[in-house]
Every structure is written in structure tokens, then in C-alpha cells.
């Protein structure tokens, strides 16, 4: 009975790993530069910094920021106004061909105090963009994301079955023992088992949060259907607005509703995070966790008056909290370096696992019972 169940686990571990390994290697390799994307674009000189002005300098009106960005691309539609979590000197405006188009989006970065155009960052080209797309969807859009999500599920299966198999292989070995002086395959096996079990929880967390992120488009679609539709129900069937209220007045209305939070980003009318009649103001807190949990405040785009604001539902909160746990960007440089090391160790686990299979695929493969006995005999 015991041996039979071990055989099943060995089969599960072999196939869940084999199917997903090459994609996992790709994800680990492309993930390496992504951990440091901020630092890398800084080093490459792609980041323009806003000049230092006295702290008492007043902020420019959001209306003039918007007007200056639109002046560069008058035929385009503003989609979002956003900035990084630790940034307060600039705003970046994204302008698309339509409110929802994703290709050929233009970005304009402006000084939040003077409303001057600082830069036109190219987020959709270059090395980091290629790394990002390979990591997120293999350049295959939504199906690519779902596919990588499925590979992530296989990784989780491989990790769990790997833990089960750890026990029979460790019955006569001390924790952390690597048989370096024996056959290379034993060293490889011990390395795979040891590194795998020590990084187990981290790999599970990053794998699981990666899978959650792969479903983000679906989660957001469900949120629109579940919450947004009832928030904007009174506006159903109305013709699109003919004029828009002041953006600054709209921001002020959202700030009045959430005085303790800061504006994270603005979704313009017609985008996935607003309605044709609303500005979606997304407010964030200050702590590592509340800064991720954007609270939506919908402001009528014609009158700049509050329409509705609701707490985030659990599924969107889960998605937003899973992001830092996947990116490792919530504990400064220390955490990023830890992420880097654990990522490299995971590559070793994947590689030794692949080699263990590759080296013996042409040999007569003894069943798992014999393998365990051979392992112990050495």
C-alpha cells in the first residue's frame, strides 16, 4: 500500500515537473531582472527625475497636468493618470487610441508641482518590456496568461508531490547531507532534495501568488460585473457625457470622501476601472498592505460629485495582496536581494530535477521502490 502510493506520487511529481519545467525556468530567468526593474531603468538612465523644489511648493492643478499631456496628443483619449507608490513629484498620463485600446499607448510624465512635461517614457519597448511580456503572457495576451497560470498550478502540484517524496529519500540521510564524494547523480539528487525543501514555502507562495496574478484579468472582469455594475446602475442607458467637470474638483471630491488616503491612480471614463460617466479615483493607504488595497471612489465626470464608493470585495483584495508577495517589492533592497537568491536557488532545483530525469531516461529505469533502496544502499 505504502509503496503503491509512493509510486503514484513519483508519477505525479515526474509529469507535473516535466510539463512545467521549461516554462518555470523561463519564468525564473525573466523574473530575475523584473525584481530590479526600478533599479535597472534607473541605471539605464531611462528615468527622468523631477527637480527638487522647496517642500512648500504648491501642487499644480490636475486640470493643467491633464491639459499639458493632452496638448502633446490631441487626437488621443486619456486612459489613466498614475504614479509609483513612493513617488509624489510626478504624475504619468497614459493616452490611447481609444479608452480601452492597449497597443501603441503613449505615456507622458509631468511634474506634479509645475505641470511641466518631464519625459515621455516608453513602457512598451526595450529589454525590460520583453522580459515583462515573456514573464506575464509569452506575448500571447490573455490566453498566454491563462497558460502560464496553468503551468503555475503544475508547479504547485510538483512542489507538493516533491515534499511527499522527500520523506522516503531521507529516511537514512541527515538533514542537509549532500553526498558530494559519491556518484554525481547522488550529489544531484541530494542537492535537489535539500534546496527544494528549504525554499519550499517561498516557492509555494511565489507560485501561488503568480497563479492568482495570472487570473487578474478575470478577477477584474468579475469585479466589474459584481460591483461596478451596481454602483453605476443609475447611469445605465444614459448618453455619454457631452462635457467633463474639472479633474481637480473630482480629485478633491474623492479626497473628501477618503481624507486619510492618498490618490493612487485615476481611471478615466470608458476604461475598465470606471464607467463612461465616471472618473474612477483609486485611493491607497500608507502601510505596506493598505497601500496595495486601492479603494475605488466613483466621481460623476459631468458634475464632479461623488456617486459611490465601496470596500474592496475579498477576491480583489486577495489579488492586490498577492502582488507584493509575488514581486517581493515590499521590503526594500533587502527583500529584493532575498528574492534574487531564492530565485537563483529555484533555478538550481529546476535544473537538477531536469538533469535527474534526463541522465537516466535511456537507462533501464528501476521502479521507485528499487530507487529508494539504491539510494539508501549508498
Amino acid at each position: 500500500m505504502y509503496i503503491k502510493s509512493i509510486k503514484t506520487w513519483a508519477w505525479v511529481h515526474k509529469w507535473s515537473s516535466l510539463v512545467s519545467t521549461l516554462f518555470m525556468l523561463l519564468l525564473c530567468l525573466t523574473g530575475l531582472p523584473l525584481i530590479f526593474s526600478h533599479e535597472i531603468s534607473h541605471l539605464l538612465g531611462n528615468e527622468v527625475e523631477a527637480p527638487d523644489l522647496p517642500a512648500t511648493t504648491k501642487l499644480a492643478s490636475m486640470d493643467s497636468i491633464l491639459a499639458n499631456a493632452k496638448a502633446l496628443y490631441p487626437s488621443r483619449v486619456v486612459q489613466f493618470v498614475f504614479r509609483d507608490i513612493d513617488e509624489d513629484k510626478t504624475w504619468t498620463v497614459s493616452l490611447g487610441k481609444t479608452a480601452t485600446s492597449e497597443d501603441d499607448t503613449k505615456f507622458v510624465m509631468l511634474d506634479s508641482r509645475t505641470a511641466k512635461v518631464l519625459d515621455e517614457p516608453k513602457f512598451n519597448e526595450g529589454f525590460m518590456y520583453v522580459m515583462f511580456k515573456l514573464h506575464v503572457d509569452l506575448f500571447a495576451g490573455f490566453p498566454g496568461m491563462l497558460f502560464l497560470g496553468l503551468m503555475g498550478v503544475l508547479l504547485i502540484v510538483a512542489i507538493i508531490s516533491g515534499v511527499v517524496l522527500y520523506a522516503p529519500f531521507m529516511r537514512r540521510l541527515a538533514f542537509g547531507e549532500i553526498r558530494k564524494d559519491r556518484a554525481p547523480k547522488l550529489k544531484r539528487l541530494d542537492t535537489h532534495n535539500f534546496l527544494g525543501v528549504v525554499t519550499l514555502v517561498w516557492a509555494l507562495v511565489v507560485g501561488l501568488t503568480g497563479v492568482i496574478n495570472a487570473w487578474s484579468d478575470l478577477v477584474i472582469k468579475y469585479w466589474q460585473f459584481d460591483q461596478m455594475s451596481s454602483m453605476i446602475a443609475p447611469y445605465k442607458g444614459l448618453p455619454p457625457p457631452t462635457h467633463y467637470a474639472s479633474l481637480q474638483a473630482s480629485v478633491d471630491a474623492a479626497q473628501a470622501r477618503e481624507p486619510d488616503k492618498r490618490l493612487g491612480f485615476i481611471a478615466f471614463p470608458g476604461t475598465d476601472f470606471s464607467s463612461p460617466h465616471h472618473y474612477g479615483m483609486f485611493m491607497r493607504g500608507d502601510s505596506p498592505i493598505t497601500s496595495r488595497l486601492f479603494k475605488p471612489v466613483l466621481i460623476d465626470a459631468e458634475t464632479a460629485k461623488l456617486t459611490d464608493s465601496r470596500e474592496l470585495p475579498w477576491y480583489l483584495a486577495t489579488l492586490l495582496i498577492s502582488q507584493p508577495l509575488h514581486f517581493g517589492d515590499y521590503g526594500g533592497m533587502t527583500l529584493k536581494i532575498i528574492w534574487l537568491i531564492l530565485d537563483l536557488i529555484t533555478i538550481v532545483v529546476l535544473w537538477t530535477g531536469l538533469m535527474l530525469w534526463w541522465k537516466k531516461r535511456k537507462q533501464h529505469v528501476p521502479d521507485i521502490e528499487t530507487k529508494i533502496r539504491l539510494n539508501e544502499a549508498y
Binding site: 542537509g176 547531507e177 553526498r179 564524494d181 517561498w202 507584493p324 533587502t334
Partner: protein, 79 residues
């Protein structure tokens, strides 16, 4: 064991014999260290997410310990 060494047998053979004589470990013995390191990792990941102060730095230690353990067993300790 002394006899084997005295006979001048290779260290490899010696460790082979050690393994045969080593008692089979039970579930607790096998998983004690993995569970401790797993808990440390978990605490490190979560506390750093909740707190933004000294505690964050302390909790990051929980994540560093597994790396230290790997370095110790893989690079420093003589097997």
C-alpha cells in the same frame, strides 16, 4: 568503524557503511527542520507585509535564515 578505517578503506565506503547502520528516521525527524524553516519563511513574508518598522527588518531575518542554512550545509560543512 575504527576497524574499517584501520583497514584503510576509502572514505566513500565508510560513509556507505554508515548509511546502512544509520537508523531509519521517523516522520518527525525527517520533517523537523523543513517545518521550522518553512515557518520562519512564512513569518518573514507576512510580517514584513503587515509592518513597516523595525519588526519588518527582524521578520526579514526569518527569510535570511533558510539562505544561511543552505550556505552552511552546502558550502561550509564537511560532509
Amino acid at each position: 568503524m575504527k576497524l574499517i578505517s584501520a583497514l584503510g578503506l576509502t572514505q566513500g565506503f565508510q560513509s556507505m557503511v554508515t548509511h546502512l547502520f544509520m537508523q531509519t528516521k521517523n516522520f518527525k525527524q525527517i520533517f523537523l527542520w523543513p517545518i521550522i524553516l518553512g515557518l520562519l519563511t512564512m513569518i518573514g513574508l507576512v510580517v514584513a507585509l503587515l509592518k513597516d518598522d523595525l519588526l519588518e527588518n527582524i521578520s526579514l531575518l526569518g527569510l535570511v535564515i533558510p539562505i544561511v542554512v543552505i550556505t552552511y550545509f552546502y558550502c561550509i560543512k564537511k560532509q
